[in-house]
């Protein structure tokens, strides 16, 4: 049988990095083929090359036995290659069917198209109302729209780029059913992921990338996760140690019945949030992004002031009306999920970025910067947190995402905070650095600080947290002890499908 797609010796170089180096793979019709790799391994680049969105420097592509001479997205669509990107390309202010109409060629007939959308979505178990506005859809529903849009084109090859990163566990199971049905009908699927368990459940074969190179191929269903991880990471996965903790008597960070209606039509209103974080413990907030995390974090950090937020106390004192700087003076430290532009100033060098929040450690005297002290502080962070850089004079935007995150986390920890709030601590960070950051957070809490982690990665939260909350549609669940809960329960709470008897989540849904 001719392979559906064959890649031969694909190379793609960017200044300072080789994204793909001599990559060859082949996918048979009806095969679900995983492309595994860590963040930055070159998976997304390879998929964009296949789709024709970017051009390879070298190599060749053969589709159904025919070589592709000049490539581009329109040629892909003509051949039957469709791609669902990690970040959706939907217009928020128009309806589902109008969005789809934009990418469908042929006669413009919304009614007929809406019927086709409904048929396809029912056939593949992706229920979606074609007339709803995209702005009212959850992330999972938006993804369905993207997939339905591809399916309408009767694809021969469907590319999915980390499709489950935005989905709750239950939605993942549903998506997999759809994908299996598609494959059974002969459609080939390229499934990009860094999640081993998913690949093992779903995929027939896997190609593993590391630093742009193929480090192995496998039959995931017959391999152990450890074998796959070793190919992906190049070493055994490091483990974190969660020692038992003794917590402070009173909470260091306390939020008492915070209710905050949102002015922004796309924002999320917070409803009666109750949260206490004690010294000596790590508390996690799980949830699918866009359920009020951003709003809660900006109220906690003091970046957004809100009259009704005066119920926030830090170490027993009201801080609800203090700005971010004043809260920091009272022992709050914070790592935002946006590293460039919020946690760090992109064009400034690391010494300046160390000063961004570190200036309180005696770096300013008589309104003048003590440059030597700032340099020392930056050097100390670089050394202690293993930041790979040429020195404190490198610009923040010259560091890789993981290294910059280590620097920012290091800076906030070195401030010796009473309370550390950290959002998405290991997003886009490679496995080694992620383990390092997680351990650093646990260690900080074990020295007596209160640590609050907001993350979408359930595995991560289960690894480092003593207690968990789940946020869904602006409501925070009651506290769950990590030892007495499981991924299943948290997953249900994340989707709002399960009402927690002692919380108010059930009433809202």
């Amino acid at each position: 049988m001719t392979p559906r797609l064959e890649l031969r010796h694909i190379c793609k170089r960017y200044p300072g990095v080789i994204a793909n180096d001599d990559v060859s793979l082949s996918v048979m019709p009806g095969e679900i083929h995983a492309v595994l790799g860590e963040n930055g391994a070159g998976k997304s680049t390879l998929m964009k090359i296949i789709y024709g969105a970017i051009r390879a420097d070298e190599g060749e592509m053969v589709f159904d036995g025919n070589p592709i001479a000049s490539h581009g997205p329109s040629i892909s669509r003509a051949l039957g290659i469709e791609m669902v990107y990690q970040h959706f390309a939907l217009f928020e202010s128009i309806s589902v069917v109008e969005n789809i109409a934009l990418s469908v060629s042929g006669k413009f007939d919304l009614t007929a198209l809406a019927n086709r959308v409904r048929d396809v979505s029912i056939k593949y178990g992706l229920p979606i109302d074609p007339h709803r506005f995209v702005c009212n859809l959850s992330v999972g529903e938006r993804q369905r729209v993207e997939i339905v849009r591809c399916l309408l084109q009767m694809p021969k090859l469907l590319i999915l780029d980390e499709p489950t990163s935005v989905l709750a566990p239950q939605a993942v199971t549903k998506l997999f059913e759809t994908l299996r049905q598609l494959a059974a009908e002969g459609c080939s699927i390229l499934y990009i992921s860094h999640k081993l368990d998913e690949v093992q459940v779903l995929c027939d074969s896997a190609t593993v990338l590391r630093n742009g190179l193929i480090t192995g191929t496998a039959k995931p269903k017959q391999s152990t996760p450890i074998e796959l991880a070793r190919m992906m990471v190049g070493a055994d996965l490091p483990e974190t140690h969660l020692d038992p903790s003794t917590t402070s008597d009173t909470p260091f960070l306390n939020v008492d019945h915070l209710t905050a209606p949102s002015d922004d039509p796309f924002g999320v209103s917070l409803n009666d949030v109750l949260l206490s974080v004690f010294g000596g413990e790590v508390v996690g907030i799980a949830g699918i992004s866009g359920n009020g995390q951003a709003e809660l974090i900006s109220f906690l950090s003091g970046e957004v002031l809100f009259k009704g937020a005066d119920t926030i106390t830090l170490d027993g004192k009201d801080v609800g009306q203090l700005d971010a700087g004043h809260r920091r003076e009272r022992g709050l430290a914070f790592v935002p999920e946006e590293r460039l532009g919020r946690g760090a100033v992109p064009p400034h060098h690391l010494s300046d970025n160390a000063m961004l929040t570190g200036h309180r450690l005696g770096m300013v005297k008589h309104w003048m910067i003590q440059r030597g002290k700032a340099n020392d502080f930056a050097a100390q962070i670089i050394r202690k947190f293993n930041v790979k850089t040429t020195g404190y004079e490198s610009a923040a935007n010259s560091l890789s995402g993981g290294n910059l995150q280590k620097f920012i986390v290091g800076r906030e920890i070195e401030l010796g905070p009473k309370v550390l709030i950290i959002s998405q601590p290991t997003w886009g960070v490679d496995v080694g650095a992620a383990a390092f950051i997680r351990q650093a957070l646990i260690d900080l809490s074990r020295t007596g600080a209160a640590v609050l982690i907001i993350s979408e990665e359930l595995d991560e939260l289960f690894e480092v947290c003593d207690r968990l909350h789940v946020i869904c549609q602006g409501q925070l669940s009651k506290s769950l002890d990590r030892k007495n809960t499981n991924v299943e329960e948290v997953g249900l709470l994340m989707t709002g499908l399960k009402s927690n008897p002692n919380s108010n989540i059930g009433e809202a849904v």
């Binding site: 200044p15 809260r327 400034h348 000063m355």
Partner: protein, 360 residues
């Protein structure tokens, strides 16, 4: 060979310095073409434009005299620009500074007083600051766009000046010219040499250059402002107030523009007139950008723009070329500079070979 544009891994520090040179060179090339089209020999005209004015001591004196306000205002503007505070109305603040200072000079009870000149400096600075405080207040409190407000305030300032010199402040013995009486001697900056117009106000500019360098490179407030300019969300994250930067950026730039206006009235003009400035406040924006918002660069940029003014006047007189040339050169310089800046962040690389076709 085809080329493609590619983002540099790190901004090129070589290009950061080379870009102004490229821009100057491109301006000269296009300028030459323009001269040729006007029927003049480009080489001779460029010589008359850029070299001849500097061949006399008087030329040097005029060069520095005109560079001084450009550099002074440029330093003030750059402080704001670094914090994304876009004061486009330095011209208006200059005018109000000149008006306030001249008012003190004309109506101070003791025209012989040694206090007169310092008082005029203070009045000029206060006037410029007050004029800039209006857009600062509107931006900090009501989030208006300071680009528009400062620009519109410039027109108000110019008309106010016009009203004064055509009306109540007009010199009764001035043959109806729109200007005030001459300022008393004690209200004027001392000349280095009675033959030439260069005066001691240039020391204010020199101090301002050092102060600006110190503020931007060494002070914590300057640091906070640069954070706000480069990454507003990071400033909010660190708890630096944006309103502080807005006030500081506008008051500093307004204050120095006011001093520059005062120095015109108390310097080469010796009185307040309807034409107090040949557009120094606007040209200083170009100076600040050519100078990369750095003190040293601003000095060089100010000298270059001043030379453009001189050269423009010189070729008007000697070759009968139109006065619009000066504005055209200023515009081209800024245009090419912004275009060359692209090369700091991007570079051209050969287009990659397309994927080979044919089965092997």
């Amino acid at each position: 060979m085809r080329f493609q544009i590619e983002r540099r891994v790190e901004p090129s520090s070589f290009m950061r310095f080379a870009a102004p040179v490229y821009a100057t060179f491109s301006t000269l090339v296009v300028g030459s073409i323009m001269f040729a089209l006007l029927g003049h020999n480009p080489a001779d005209t460029l010589f008359a434009f850029f070299i001849t004015p500097l061949m006399t001591i008087n030329g040097i004196s005029e060069w520095l005299l005109k560079a001084s306000p450009l550099i002074l205002i440029g330093c003030g503007l750059a402080i704001g620009f670094r914090a994304n505070v876009w004061n486009i109305g330095a011209e208006g603040q200059l005018v109000i500074g000149a008006v306030c200072a001249s008012g003190v000079g004309l109506f101070y009870p003791d025209p012989e007083s040694a206090l007169l000149l310092p008082l005029m400096v203070i009045a000029g600075m206060a006037g410029g600051m007050a004029w800039a405080a209006i857009p600062a207040f509107l931006r900090a409190r009501m989030n208006t766009n300071e680009i528009l407000v400062t620009l519109m305030m410039t027109y108000i300032a110019t008309l106010l000046l016009s009203l004064l010199v055509h009306g109540p402040w007009r010199d009764p013995d001035g043959y109806n010219y729109p200007q005030t009486a001459l300022l008393p001697d004690a209200a004027l900056f001392e000349l280095f040499d009675p033959m030439y117009r260069l005066n001691t106000s240039i020391f204010i500019t020199i101090v301002a250059v050092f102060a600006m360098w110190f503020f931007t490179e060494r002070s914590f407030f300057g640091y906070k402002m640069s954070v706000g300019g480069a990454a507003p969300l990071a400033a909010r994250y660190a708890g630096f107030k944006q309103s502080g930067s807005i006030w500081m950026g506008l008051l500093i730039s307004g204050g120095v523009a006011g001093i520059a206006g005062m120095a015109e009235a108390a310097g080469p003009l010796g009185q307040l007139s309807a034409q107090i400035s040949p557009g120094y406040g606007f040209a200083a924006i170009i100076v600040a950008f050519i100078g990369r918002l750095h003190a040293v660069g601003i000095v060089l940029g100010g000298l270059l723009l001043s030379l453009l003014y001189l050269g423009g006047e010189a070729v008007q007189l000697s070759l009968g070329l139109p006065s619009a040339l000066t504005s055209i050169f200023q515009g081209m310089l800024l245009f090419f500079l912004l275009a060359s800046d692209f090369l700091i962040f991007y570079r051209f690389t050969p287009f990659p070979k397309p994927i080979k076709s044919g089965v092997t």
